[in-house]
Every structure is written in C-alpha cells, then in structure tokens.
Amino acid sequence: MRDFRLKVVFNQQVSQRYWHLCLDASSIQEDIKPGQFFNIFCSDYSTEPFLRRPFSLYHFDKMHLEFLYAIKGVGTKALTHYQKGDTLNVLGPLGQFFQLPKNTREILLLARGVGIATLAALAYEAYERGIKVVGVLSARTNDDLVIADTLQSLGMVIYKVTDENKTSDIENVMERLSFILKQRTIDAVYTCGSRRLTRLLQRVSSEYGIYGEVALEENMGCSVGVCYACVCQIKEKEDSQSVRICREGPVFPLEKVLV
C-alpha cells in the first residue's frame, strides 16, 4: 500500500450517471485483488471535496487500474474533470479481498448500483480462473447497467432488474435467486451495494447453506485503519464487535455482518 501518483489513461462517461476511469499502473508492484479499493484525492482542480473518496477496483491488470464510478456528489463530480495525462493521487491497494473457496466452480453475484463495479472485479477473476458466474444486477435504470452487457459477452449469465421496469423489488429478486439456486450448483455468493439485498442474500445463503461474502461501504477518513470512522458491526459468537471497513473489510463473511 502506498500513495501513488498515477497518470490518467482515459476518463470517460459511459452512461448518464457512470464514468470509467483508467490509470497507468505500470509503477505499481503490489499484488492487487478483487474487492480491494483505492482512496482517491479528487480535489486538485476544484474547491471540493475536502476528503478523499474510496473506490473499488472495477478491473485491473499489470498496466492498468480501472474504476467505474457513479456521479453522486461533489467528489465524483470533481473526478470527472481529470483528463488523459493528468495525474491522480491514489492510496492503495486497501482492505481485504474476496475469497473464492477451493474447488469453486460457479458463483452468484448480487449487486446493486455502484456495487456492480466492485463485484465486476471478482467476475473477471472468476472468468480467468474458469469459474462460471451468474449475476443478478440491480439498478435504478437500464442505463445504469452499462457493464451488464460486457459481462454477458464473456459468457456470464446476467439477469438485469431495474426500478424503472419495476423488476427490482425484493420479491422479484428473491424469485430469481431461488430459481438460480435451484437450477444451478452455486458454490459461493457475493453481494455489494444494498442493505436490503444483503439481508436477502443472508437469508438465502443460510437457507441453502452456501458460503457468502459482502463488500460494505461507509464514509472514510484515513482509509488505513487509524481513525475508526468507517466501522460496522460483526457478529462474534453471542456478541457483536465493531470492525473497520477499510481494514478488516470492506469484504466480510456474509453471515457475520449486521446490516
């Protein structure tokens, strides 16, 4: 983990709300894994934001770090001003990564909104390791599901549900999950981006006895585990314990998180 100063390779809008940022990672020696994130300083060119903003890797290889981000507020807006050739301070790689249990042959991803970006990194890794991927991707609009097609084109089975089509309600998602879990042999489930969907997947995975993980989000200060801004509650035996999303997370065993 270090604070790298990386050149922007491209930073382009890919849908109404989403942007795709690619940085030159040739100077990074560190091992990077899906689920990890970088804390990005996006205020060189504007008066806000004051703090850095955390973004998971969406895709990466030896030469590139790629992020997929949705415009929310000042930070993500400021990030859109960076252009090819500009440099960005990115601190990372940070946090724990997703685990693919031994002998996993097929996984299920349940993602909502920007959570899709986080799980996409895992989808790519699974793909490279020959693990099959089924994804249920949820968003406000179809336009927000830009990467669904990319994943589909790699042969993954992708179900899209959206608010605009009224297909994203819990009942409908539940139905899809049951259908998938009955039809296929899913070895592990992963989720990111929604409390409601996390709770749903907790129920389903415990019912089916499947290993699961979730990646959580919280406002961050330091992103390196010193400030305790980013905590969440984790079940420990009878008790619950407060852990840091930037350090012990953002990826946690699904059954342990209290959401």
């Binding site: 604070d3 806000e48 703090l51 330091c222």
Partner: protein, 309 residues
Amino acid sequence: MTGRINLKVQIGELLLQNPVMPASGAFGEGMDELVDFNQLGAVVPKSITRYPRGGNPTPRICETPSGMINSIGIQSKGLDDYLAHTIPYYSRYHVPLIPSISGDSIEEFVEMSRIIALEEAVAGLELNISCPNLKGNGLSFGMDEEVTYQLISEVRQVTTKPLLAKLTPNVTSIVDIAKSAVRAGADSLVVANTLLAMAIDTESWKPKIGNLMGGLSGPAVRPVIVRMVYQVAQAVDVPIIGCGGIMCGRDAIEMMLAGATAVQIGTASFLNPTAMLEIIEEIKAYLKEHQLEDIQQLIGQAHSQIKQE
C-alpha cells in the same frame, strides 16, 4: 552559518528531534507502511479509555468547507489491551511515546495515568480533557477552570513524567483554562482539540453525524487555533503544542510564530498520508531559505514583531 539546521525542541523534560508529531486519533499502526515513525518528533496514539468502548453510531465523519466533523466516540479496546499491545508496539520506535488518556471521571484519569506512566516506554502523557464527544451536548472537563485544575493536580500526584494537557477551544477564555492547567502542574499545553460543530443533510433533514454533533478540524479552524496559541503564549510559560488545521510547513510555521514550540498534525494525514514527513521537510527548507539555523528563532516571533512597533 554552519549549514546545519537545528530542529530540536524541548517539551518539559522531553527533547524532541523535531517539532512535528501526530494529533491523537489521526494516527496509528496502520500508518507504519506509509510513514517512518522514527522520523517524527514524537508519537501520540489514539486516546485510550479505561474500559473497552464501542464508540458512536455511524456516520462518524462528514466533510465541511475546508474541514471535517468527527464523532468517533473514542472507540477503544480498554487499558489492558493498551498495555498488552499498543505500548509494546510503539516501543519498537525510538521516538518519545506520548499516550493520550481519556477518562470518564477524574478518578479514571488518575488511575490510567498512574498505570500507563509506570511503563518504561512511555515518555509523557497527554490528558485529553477536551474531547467534546464524551458527555451530553458536547461538555468536557476542560470547559471549567476548577475541574481542569483538580483533574491535572490529581494526575500530577501520581507521575513525574511530563504532562501535556490538551485543551478545548470551546470556551469563553482559553487563557483562564490554560493558566489553571499550568498552575495544576501541566508541563505543556496542547492548543487545542476540535470545535464543536454540526452539519445537516438538506435532503434527509438529518444530522450528517450519527451522534448529531462532533468536532470540527482541518484548515477551516486554523485561524481560531492560531489566535488561541497566541493568547495562551502571552499568558503562560510552558511550551505550547499547536494543533488545528496544519496542512503544510507554512501552516506549522504560522503556529510557531504565534507561540507554539511544537505542532500536532491530524486531518492533514487523511488527505495526504505522508503529510507529517513533508511538513518536517518544508520546515527545514523554510529555515534554509530564510537563513535561520535554529527553529527556536521562529517560536513566538509574531509577538516580538508587534512589540517592536
């Protein structure tokens, strides 16, 4: 001029190799990959409480214009864990270790101070009498002259190690509190903790901090803290540690011109994790550029500038 620049400063009986140290709560083990702790003037870990404590509801931080609000609530694993893990961890480094102590009562302050001061690795104690998060509506020990006096004089009984009192800026007269702390035996004053603040989300209509209010830090508050350092420096003779909104070497120098002997860096480390090391370098460069040999030549100079006129 010999070309050698002296950055050493004295805080009570502690000689620091340079005046730059972390502010409690914005520093810890997770930073050792980024910062060589041996380069710092001292290390000040997150405030410790007597018993384990979960801390406050999230969100615990939010940003504001040129600043941030935090209300962590001093999440801590308690004193036993601190003695077992935190102190041994910092003992590896050869810079003074200054634990920050946060009690719920004067008795707790005394008890913890006594126990922690016994540790050989501990160079001095910072008494966080100013945390605005602990009690209802942002009250803290350091808001009252009498309580401040009593707390520090009782702690003074149980240790001869340097005591740094971290004052709260949320008072009518920080000078009165400062005098009280010094009378009670504080060897140094940290000026200051955060300003009690609040932000409300105009969409949800809810406070942006789970605990409603929290402490404002960052460059937004620096002018208030510089003023307090200046006032306190006129009133007491112990070294002052300036803390609040220092982002770069120039800001540290401003604090020292106002009367601070050393500085603590908090929020800056969130924006730039190597801020402390860069600030040390920038101070050095400043001295060189201004042909000064010794950092002592800066301390309190804004006062002399005025007297000369």
